[in-house]
Symmetry: C2
Subunit: 366 residues, 2 copies
């Protein structure tokens, strides 16, 4: 046997999730009728412009993507109101940007700070590079960052601090003054994950001019409706972005992803409608679930909300299974660090699906 790294032997073994087709078979469901409220996707579907442009380019998929993505960078820069040199594009969504950040910054033993419960992929990616997680804390009751816990976690070995706003899975925002405080307390890179910012209307771009250790992480998987195409981007100090490009895979943005991202940005009406539908669905779901006495629903500024289900008499695996039997997928949150087995996360869907979901939930909890 070849000599696998000791670090890799200590990582958790990979256990693949069940595929949608498997789930549909197991519960005897039509895979095309499953109500997807587990992955924070866009219920509107993709931009029609994007679909049309893809149709017109399918015959070219035998040719390589462009290694030069300057045209898309320019559109992203224009959408965000930043300079093109401040943009980097990821071909495996924001997840690739995380990997490129680790490659640019992490030497084995370096520390990074996360605030559980939050997006778990930070840890997955950074631990592979030998980085050591240091845990700050998200105050779930107040649904806000415990700022002191972040400041206390900073050490001379801290290389990266992750701040997720709106936070996944809790949905709360981080105060801009808290982000400033963190930026001023360290020379580590502060990664502000704004995957869901459009649903909150609040972003932190204005801080870029003041802090060269700020990096903003974003995605085309949410309001842009392109989760299946795996496109992310980062915005940061242009000198730092240049270093990132030295280690970024050259062809990872596939040809159709490039086209889909570009044409979606050409369709601001779609982006606006996406946003409106998601907010409408979020407000409806919050309102209706709040009426159910066994549920404690957390107010969210994203396209999902966290629900404490401990008063239902079921745990998250059990309630997820009951919902699945009725054709609804929600996110069982027991795998999130910092949450126990009594939490689910519910994503927005179409208004029709929302109503079906509320009916199903009421029936289950009767």
């Amino acid at each position: 046997m070849v000599r696998v790294k000791e670090l890799v032997k200590k990582l958790d073994p990979y256990v693949p999730g069940r595929s949608n087709a498997d789930l549909a078979r197991a519960y005897n469901l039509d895979p095309d009728k499953i109500i997807r409220m587990g992955s924070n996707e866009n219920p509107l579907g993709p931009s029609p412009w994007a679909v049309k442009a893809l149709q017109e380019n399918l015959h070219k998929i035998n040719t390589y993507p462009e290694s030069n993505t300057d045209d898309l960078k320019r559109k992203i820069a224009s959408y965000a109101g930043v300079n093109v040199e401040e943009v980097i594009i990821g071909g495996d969504g924001a997840d690739e940007i995380l990997d490129v950040l680790a490659k640019t910054l992490i030497e084995p033993g370096d520390e990074y700070i996360v605030h559980p419960p939050s997006y778990m992929y930070y840890e997955f990616t950074f631990n592979i590079h030998g980085a050591v997680p240091v845990y700050a804390r998200w105050d779930i009751e107040k649904n806000q960052l415990d700022l002191d816990s972040v400041l206390e976690a900073i050490s001379p070995r801290t290389k990266v601090i992750f701040l997720c706003t709106p936070n996944n899975p809790t949905g709360g925002l981080i105060d801009k003054k808290d982000i400033r405080t963190v930026l001023e307390s360290t020379d580590a890179l502060v990664v502000v994950d704004e995957a869901y910012w459009e649903f909150s209307g609040v972003n932190n771009l204005e801080l870029l001019a003041e802090y060269d250790n700020l990096f903003i992480l974003r995605t085309f998987s949410k309001v842009m409706g392109l989760a299946g195409m795996r496109i992310g981007y980062g915005i940061g100090n242009k000198e730092f972005i240049q270093y990132m490009h030295r280690v970024k895979p050259v062809f990872s943005l596939n040809k159709l992803s490039h086209i889909a991202a570009s044409t979606t940005l050409d369709d601001p009406d779609y982006i606006e409608r996406s946003n409106e539908l998601s907010i409408q669905s979020r407000d409806y779901l919050y309102h209706e679930m709040s009426k159910i006495p066994q549920l404690k629903v957390y107010q969210s500024l994203a396209n999902y909300m966290l629900v404490d289900i401990r008063d239902t008499g079921m745990n998250s695996r059990e309630i997820s299974e009951e919902l699945m039997k009725n054709g609804v997928i929600v996110r069982d949150c027991s795998s999130f660090r910092g949450l126990d087995e009594y939490w689910i996360r519910v994503s927005v869907a179409t208004m029709e699906e929302d109503e079906q979901f509320i009916n199903i939930l009421q029936n289950i909890l009767q």
Copy 2:
């Protein structure tokens, strides 16, 4: 400024290539009429089945890809005649598999062996992880591996040995007995890159049963006609593959890439026609270019061939530019380690394009 790794500061700065659109503008060409003989692509276009399946699934690209790709692994295993547990799929083509190999095996200072001239991306990927290249040699005149140079390069720190067959860009095969000799001389992982094996008809799968340090690297970018979709796969010892899965990105195979790969494997007629067209084109180009006295053409078992152009009075940049003015892209090989500025690589195209190319070349060299 944040503390970027010293290693990254020493890597070459990233210089993006010119985009196709830029090239077309610069040379006043119709971008859809450029003859692409620079990237070893499939001139037949993608499988019609793949195009049809993509069309039917474009409306779903707002949803995440499956993290479970077992269905595609089973089809690949069946195509290759191996077990499903011996297969890993890469979402950025074979390039992602290279990155995952480095993550599984490389600690800073570990060595890997390459045989220039060969595929340059091995070095790009492995150097990012702090691995140290050790150079063996490809004997260009004989178009074969200098086996002794590989054996001499092996040290206790060798973690990976790359053997590319057919070799890119020279087109020659590596003898199976030489591969055996390398496998028996080391406990390092021997990565046999078979990206182009279908065009040669020769592969090394039969050695898997005997050597647990063999890993075979493959791609959907060549005979499968899906370069734009970025899909690769690896075949190796199943215990080793499990370790690789611990560090592999979870969602990197995008939704449409998954569908395109799966439906192309369902279309063996397409794969056969692809192969036949490429071989016909290769034989024609070899025959016709060999008649031109200023060119020395190397016989190839892949879908490209190496050409020594030093007797034309031009270097590779100059002849590439002359061809580009006439609407043809070939590969200027001066960036390949081990080749000087007098080599180009010519990929197969359609028979009609081949004839146009030969005419253009004759005119330029008159």
